[in-house]
Symmetry: C2
Subunit: 120 residues, 2 copies
Amino acid sequence: MKAIILFGHGARDSRWREPFDRLATLWQEQHPATPVALAFLEMMQPSLEEAVASLSAQGATELTVVPVFFGQGGHLRNDFPVLLEECRGKFPGVTLSATPAVGEDLAVLQAIVDFGARAL
Amino acid sequence: MKAIILFGHGARDSRWREPFDRLATLWQEQHPATPVALAFLEMMQPSLEEAVASLSAQGATELTVVPVFFGQGGHLRNDFPVLLEECRGKFPGVTLSATPAVGEDLAVLQAIVDFGARAL
């Protein structure tokens, strides 16, 4: 079974995660056959490993991790591949792949441009 | 004249800003009559104040700042209003307003969901 992990940075202020909760809800409404989990790099739970464990326990065998970051800086170029590799080692029955950051997607950028245009 | 500032967090790795440069380019292509500037909270230039100065020097009098952040945590709830107020004090001829974070926009979240769905 396929599943998706929406991977964000995390923050001290718990309200920071509200859009991530909304993203997971939207995903589950629109893709009910594909379980979703959030995961955070730091300051919020669950970790990537905890999210992989949870989805694996639900029977997921093909996991796609979507980094919900704008830019691909040190976190995604250095920290994230290490975490991903650790998860691959700990969950040999799960195939883990990752997309580029969502900020690399033209449709995401276009939605931001349109949001700005509506605000002017 | 109206203008827009796309306000991001900033990062040590200069490649992190690539989507922001793309955003500014997209904006300028689609809204050529409305100047755009990037601005960053930390670790990247220009600052919000520098961006306001630059657009003001180009004749902008109504500036809308769009926080290109997912969540509204400490940076947007605490740091950003202070910066905005400082800019208002320093540029009395400019009207400065701000939108919520782009992560509050349903169309932005939907674009992220669609990006994930295409990757599965």
